[in-house]
């Protein structure tokens, strides 16, 4: 029977290697040999490059790789694992089965102050340019969940600290945590189980709330009916989206499997033009110009369905509401929380300028110079919307 084991293992190995992995390995080996025998310029390729290539090929090109990831997640689930440590992140399964990440210890005063600094700077810019300002505090999912007792989760405490400091400094704000609690929304209604982002329905609610707050504070005028949930069609794609945490832990790590994904589109006519630097402008109805159905394909491990909304994160996106040209000019500084908010917010504005100013190499390109952009644009309102960490 050891023979049977060996033959099964050989077959299994062959099946996994068949196709892309095998041809990539062969090609890479050929390249190495060519360099070693002098058929290609020496010194440009060596064992270290070959090693890196082979490891990458075997990590990324084996057949049925994702089935194995799902199988591994089932094993972890059955063993009672709640914390999954991978090479680049740690994901925790909450008591409810929800997946959590980016759990923080309690912040000290200095850290809280550092969180408020960019918000205050943006508020000053808005004031200097005569724009109404609103800071939207978006709670992260761990605020609502109980992680395991061996994991520190002070995200809720930190949210309250940042909120308290925001109030103390007199910054106009929207506390989404309280809003959601008042509305009696559960964490499953607000957030995806397998991702850190909030659901499209939460994004629509957020857009409506922002407009209501701007209206109350600054007299913002907008077509309220265009943000009425009854005016939208909801198409639910069942078991469709495996979020960022789910991709890292595997499909079967929680009882939820993959998330359902709602495509929420207006029932009424719309006409937008959306522009991103370096890309051709998109013109058309809401779903054609502001959503990107390319990401709607069902591919648990390689598609990020969340970015159907907005098409992703960009340093600068301009959206013109061609049916509402006299509407307000709004500039929103956001992170990925804004993906499901800005398409709906665009329904209420004449122009919506969406800025992602996160540091680092994501999104691609350098952050824009907000000071000159705002002074040139002279928006009516400046909104800050990011996850509150």
């Amino acid at each position: 029977m050891d023979v049977l084991l060996f033959l099964s293992a050989v077959l299994f190995t062959a099946v996994l290697l068949w196709g892309n992995a095998f041809s990539a390995l062969a090609e890479e080996t050929g390249t190495l040999l060519k360099y070693k025998v002098g058929m290609l310029p020496r010194g440009e390729y060596g064992l270290a490059d070959y090693r890196e290539a082979v490891e990458s090929i075997l990590q990324n090109k084996l057949q049925y790789r994702f089935s194995l990831v799902s199988l591994n997640s089932l094993r972890e689930n059955l063993l009672g694992t709640r914390i999954v440590v991978t090479t680049d992140t740690t994901v925790v399964k909450a008591d409810s089965g929800n997946l959590l990440g980016d759990l923080r210890s309690e912040y000290d005063e200095e850290t809280v102050a550092s969180r408020l600094a960019p918000i205050e700077a943006l508020e000053r810019l808005a004031e200097q340019n005569g724009a109404g300002f609103l800071c939207c505090l978006v709670p992260t999912k761990p605020v609502y969940e109980t992680a395991t007792p061996n994991v520190i989760n002070a995200n809720g405490v930190n949210y309250d600290l940042i909120l308290a400091e925001t109030v103390k400094r007199g910054i106009p704000y929207l506390d989404f945590r309280s809003l959601f609690e008042e509305q009696g929304l559960s964490v499953g209604e607000l957030f995806f189980y397998t991702d850190h982002h909030w659901r499209p329905a939460a994004g629509l609610l957020a857009a409506r709330t922002i407009c209501g707050e701007l209206s109350e504070r600054y007299g913002f005028v907008y077509p309220e009916k265009d943000l009425d949930p009854a005016q939208f069609r909801v198409q639910t794609y069942k078991d469709h989206f495996l979020g960022s945490y789910g991709k890292k832990t595997g499909l079967l790590f929680t009882q939820y499997g993959a998330d359902d994904f709602d495509l929420i589109t207006p029932l009424f006519p719309t006409d937008f033009q959306a522009e991103v630097a370096g890309q051709p402008p998109r013109r058309g109805e809401f779903e054609d110009s502001l959503l990107d159905s390319v990401y709607l394909r069902k591919d648990y491990y390689e598609a990020n369905t969340y970015v159907v909304y907005s098409g992703g994160d960009f340093r600068l996106q301009r959206i013109d509401n061609l049916l509402h040209p006299d509407g307000a000019k709004i500039l929103i500084v956001r992170d990925s929380a804004g993906c499901v908010v800005t398409p709906f917010l665009a329904l209420a504005a004449g122009e919506l300028h969406v800025v992602d100013d996160r540091e680092g190499s994501y999104p691609a390109g350098a952050p824009i110079d907000l000071e000159s952009y705002i002074s040139e644009l002279r928006p009516d309102y400046v909104v800050y919307l990011k996850f509150t960490y």
Binding site: T13, E55, Q59, G80, P149, N150
Partner: protein, 472 residues
């Protein structure tokens, strides 16, 4: 390159097996050359610059072996050559492994600052150096013929199954097999089964337990307060991690060796069922224990000497055993702990006492000190070890239990139960009882295949896969 890695499983091993058995089947010399070159490639995959170190070791030891035979075994000159060779090999080890440490020791003892460079350690140097010494000494003792072909010596010293994590293969056990081995289907397939067992132990058990162990020991090193139960949980997790990692690697090495017709000796024999420290060391890392016995303890006179001299011999052996594991005071303390315990058992006849009614107590005593030893072994420093030990015995003013314990316990208890069961010969005995049963054989093959698939799934998922032999 690690055995528990995708490049080894899907690239290196299939290619080596295919070339060895399909292309070079009828040519033993070419097979040996190929295995040697493949082993160098295996080593160079992770440590290209240290291949030269390995090759230098091979060259010097090959020459020493030939010289000893040339000038006659057991002659004065031969003894001198052996001594020279041992000094050369140990100098290698000293320079790469202990130079920086010795500088720190000198500074601490003398008060004068002596900064010596801490060189990067070639992986496996402790293993292949001891094998090289074994080669020369066994030739001197007449327990094996000197290889005329340097590539054969290279194959013995650098053979990839045992190159980076043992077992330490004594030359006398494989001398005849370098040229005269006979591969068989039974060895090949049973070797593969053994390899899969080892892979599963390493990937599915050791790697998972490592997360818990690393968390606890990391917290202790940072001086974080650990509850009593949490620190014991971490210590127990490390005991299981270390056993499954090390014995898993040994299983893979022995299995791979068998696939190529080599028969390495066993390295572990259910050490956690031991009822004395003496017994533990007859079951744990047996290749190292027997190496020190045959190449250090016995040449020093062994146990057929006066009590004082015996104490000295044991002291030397256990300090060296500790130091072999790494250049740190913790390893010396670890070695001395076992020295004290073994002296106690030897001089009280503890190991000889066989009252079954006290077996459970004797087992508890053994495991208690083994775990304490593991704690010292694993800690980065004496201070960290002390912190961990104080936590374990509630000497830190720490709580008895906390959320860290309850959380990690709940998440690891199933795995630890499996680990504890597999630490015993229970399944081996079941296997022996069912030997001959086709149903059992089929079920076993199916289970091992399932474990192979799960191991690959874990590796593909980029799961935590630590390599704990970087000190060796």
């Amino acid at each position: 390159m690690l055995f528990s890695s995708l490049p080894f499983l899907f690239f290196f091993l299939p290619v080596v097996l295919a070339v060895y058995y399909l292309l070079l089947r009828k040519n033993r010399p070419l097979q040996n050359v190929f295995l040697f070159l493949a082993s160098l490639f295996f080593y160079a995959w992770g440590e290209p610059r240290f291949v030269l170190v390995l090759m230098l070791s091979i060259a010097v030891n090959w020459m020493a072996g030939l010289a000893i035979v040339r000038f006659g075994r057991r002659t004065r000159l031969a003894r001198f050559l052996v001594a020279l060779d041992v000094i050369f090999n140990l100098s290698f080890l000293f320079v790469y492994k202990y130079l920086g440490f010795m500088g720190r020791v000198f500074t601490r003892l003398s008060g004068c600052e002596l900064s010596l460079p801490a060189l990067a350690l070639p992986i496996g140097i402790s293993f292949f150096t001891f094998q090289a010494i074994s080669y020369v000494v066994d030739i001197y003792r007449g327990k094996g013929e000197a290889q005329k072909n340097i590539l054969s010596v290279g194959l013995y010293i650098s053979f990839f199954p045992q190159l980076i994590a043992g077992p330490i293969v004594r030359y006398e056990t494989v001398a005849a097999e370098i040229q005269g081995r006979r591969e068989s289907a039974e060895d090949f397939f049973s070797g593969f089964s053994r390899f899969v067992e080892g892979l599963a132990k390493k990937v599915l058990l050791a790697n998972k337990l490592a997360i818990l162990a690393d968390t606890v020991f990391g917290a202790a090193a940072d001086g974080a307060p650990l509850s009593v139960l949490f620190s014991w949980l971490g210590a127990a997790a490390y005991a299981l991690q270390l056993f499954f990692d090390f014995s898993g690697y040994s299983d893979m090495a022995i299995g791979l060796g068998r696939m190529f017709g080599f028969h390495f000796l066993e390295n572990f024999n259910y050490p956690y069922i031991s009822t004395s420290i003496s017994e533990f060391w007859r079951r744990w890392h047996m290749s190292l224990g027997t190496w020190f016995r045959d190449y250090v303890f016995i040449p020093l006179g062994g146990s057929r000497v006066s009590r004082k001299r015996l104490l000295l011999n044991l002291f030397i052996v256990w300090v060296l055993t500790g130091l072999w594991h790494g250049a740190n005071y913790t390893y010396i303390v670890w070695g001395l702990l076992y020295f004290v315990l073994l002296v106690f058992e030897r001089f009280t006849g503890f190991d000889k006492k066989r009252k079954d009614s006290l077996r459970a107590l004797r087992w508890a005593y053994t495991m208690f000190f083994v775990i304490l030893g593991h704690v010292i072994f694993r800690s980065d420093s004496i201070g960290a070890a002390a912190c961990m030990l104080r936590s374990m015995f509630a000497l830190n003013g720490n709580a008895f239990s906390d959320g860290m314990f309850t959380g990690y316990f709940a998440q690891n208890v199933r795995l630890m139960i499996i680990g504890c069961l597999l630490s015993t010969p229970l399944f081996k005995r079941i296997g022996e009882r069912c030997a001959g049963s086709a149903v059992y054989a089929f079920a076993r093959a199916g289970l091992l295949f399932g474990l192979f698939v799960l191991s690959v799934a874990s590796l593909v998922s980029n799961a935590y896969n630590p390599f704990i032999y970087f000190n060796f």
